[in-house]
Every structure is written in C-alpha cells, then in structure tokens.
Amino acid sequence: MAQARTLITVPAQAKRGELVLVRALIQHPMENGFRHDENGRRIARDMIQSFRCSFNGKEVFRADLQGGIAANPLMQFTLLAQESGTLEFLWEGDNNFRAQAKAQLLVT
C-alpha cells in the first residue's frame, strides 16, 4: 500500500470564535510487539509513534502513541476557529511509517 488510508472529518465552514471538532482516523495495525502468531512466533512491533496536526503551518495538536492504543487509531480534538486555512496531519511511526493528510477550514 502506497499510503495508509486516512479519513479526516472537519466541518467545511465555521464561525469565527466557534469550537471546531476535528477527527482524524488512520488505517494502521498498531502491533505492539508483544503478541504471538498462531505458530508461537512473536509478531514484530509496528506502531505509529507520533501524530501532529498543524494549522497554517503552526502546530496545534500533538500526541505520542504507545502500546495500549488499538488498531486504526482515531484522534479527536477541538480547535478555536479564528481564520481560514489548511489543517495538515502527519503520522509517523516504526519502519519509516509516514502518512499525511490535509483538510480545509473556512472561517466566516
């Protein structure tokens, strides 16, 4: 797979001063490296380690992801709408995993 599938949910429009709910979902196994397959072999660790979201180039949200987080992690947070712009999402992890997504927010 060239890039993991991502799904961003942001309202297309928001009023200035309004709280905007941002959701970012990504397809990833989040294999913690402690599990074994049916033949008893350990399954290699494969985790997303960090998630970052920036708005017009400025970081607005960041998370470190660790072993207890389930596959296909969903990030959900709020932003205070002040100006229109572009949200950029970046996930990075083991085995040089890297996925990016963008979303537009129009503030009126």
Partner: protein, 246 residues
C-alpha cells in the same frame, strides 16, 4: 418427550421477532457504527472504492470499466449472495474473485486478505438499507437444505449446534455476553476484537473454534451453504454493511 421434540423442531425465530445484532450494541459502539467519520470500516470502504476504479497492473479492465459506478450497478447485488454461479455456489467474495481471475486475468486474492475485504465491503455497502433476498430460486433448494442441516448439526467437543444458541437461547447470556440471533446483516464488518474488518466465514469459524470443532476452511462449500442458510434466515431484513461489533 414428544412435546419437547415438537418444540425443538419449530424452534426457528418468528419473522416478526427477528432483530439485527445492532440492537445489542452499547451506546458508544452504536455511535461508532452510525457515524462514517468514526467508523473504522470507512477506511476499508475508501480502499475498496479505489480498487474498484483502478485497473489491475496488467492493463485489464477495472471493476468500474465493466460495472460502471458501483453506487448504481451494485445497489442491491449484495442482498442476493450467496448464489450459484455456473456449477458452484458462490458468496460475494467468491464472485469478486471469480471476476478477478476470469475477466482481469489476475491471481485470486486470498480469503480474508485486505483487498478482497475492501472490495467486498465497498460492494456490500452499496446495498445498505436494502432488504435481503428471499432466496426462493429452485436452484438454491439443495444448498439451502444442506446449510440448514449444518445449522442444526451439533459439533465439536462441546457438542453444540448453531441453533441451540442462536435460535433457542438468543437474548440469554453466554459468559456475560448476550447471545445474538446471528443474522448476518452487517458483513463484512469491523469487529473490535479483530481490530479489523472480517468476513462472515471468519466469524463462523470463530464460533466453530469456540465449540471446539474443527472449522471448515474459508471458502469451503460447507461454510458457503451455512452462509446461504443464514442469509435466507434473515430474508427481508435490511443490510447494514459494514457494521461494527464488539
């Protein structure tokens, strides 16, 4: 004894008492299932849509080249599977693979592989809300009867049949979990336990393992017949693929 036996023979769930497994979901899981922005299976739908539109590497036609827009051409297809294709009873996954081998000249995708589940989810999703077929075709009679026999067949060290739990004891508890009626309205579905999307046959094999029976192979005639019987048992109920289950 005779009375008990007669009751057993009629233990099928009355049509108006049937319910989808969605009614047993917790409020938070129901919210996940009903919001496409939260439902993790949405990621499989995105993948399935891309695979539907992209020609395979050998420049053979893509799914869309023949079938066009899935939203119109596939709008009720999933309600009618499994069905006989040629001499063989085929479920939706099998049909997609048959198309892939015969029309696209590509190797079949393995059962439960990500691309097969993605395309199957995408096709099944188009039929969301449509009533499941009544499978009344005379060609299906023998397979339906065989599937029904499997449903009532005790199996495994625990010696249970599907019917003993899902026809006779639905709504009661098994190890703290409410036993569902087992209507396959949401497959392929995202199961939290699997951390991914899986097929009905994977779920059936889970149940067979749980009663310590040796499960039939994925894609085997037995599982496909059982799938057919389960779909017939849910005839008229709306499809809700891809669903979410704990």
């Amino acid at each position: 004894m005779l009375v008990a036996h007669a009751l057993w023979a009629q233990a099928e769930i009355p049509l108006d008492q049937r319910q989808s497994g969605s009614v047993l979901l917790s409020p938070s899981n129901l919210a996940l299932q009903n919001d496409p922005g939260l439902h993790p299976a949405s990621l499989w739908l995105l993948e399935g849509e891309a695979l539907w539109k992209t020609p395979p590497s050998n420049n053979a036609p893509s799914c869309a080249s023949c079938h066009g827009d899935a939203q119109t051409s596939m709008r009720d297809v999933a309600t009618r599977y499994p069905r006989p294709r040629g001499a063989q009873l085929q479920n939706l996954e099998g049909q997609i693979n048959q198309c892939r081998v015969q029309r696209q000249h590509q190797p079949a995708w393995p059962w439960e592989s990500a691309p097969l589940l993605s395309v199957t989810s995408w096709v099944a999703h188009q039929a969301k809300g449509k009533a499941i077929d009544d499978f009344a075709s005379p060609h299906l009679k023998a397979d339906l009867a065989a599937g029904r026999d499997l449903f009532f067949q005790r199996m495994g060290q625990i010696n249970l049949s599907c019917a003993q739990c899902h026809d006779q004891r639905w709504g009661q508890k098994l190890a703290g979990v409410v036993i569902p009626q087992a209507h396959p309205t949401g497959y392929p579905l995202y199961r939290l336990e699997w951390q991914g999307v899986g097929s009905l046959q994977r779920r059936l094999r889970n149940c067979m393992n749980a009663v310590r029976a040796e499960p039939y192979a994925l894609g085997s005639l037995e599982l496909t017949r059982l799938e057919l019987y389960l779909m017939w048992r849910a005839r008229g109920m709306p499809l809700e693929a891809p669903a979410l289950r704990p």
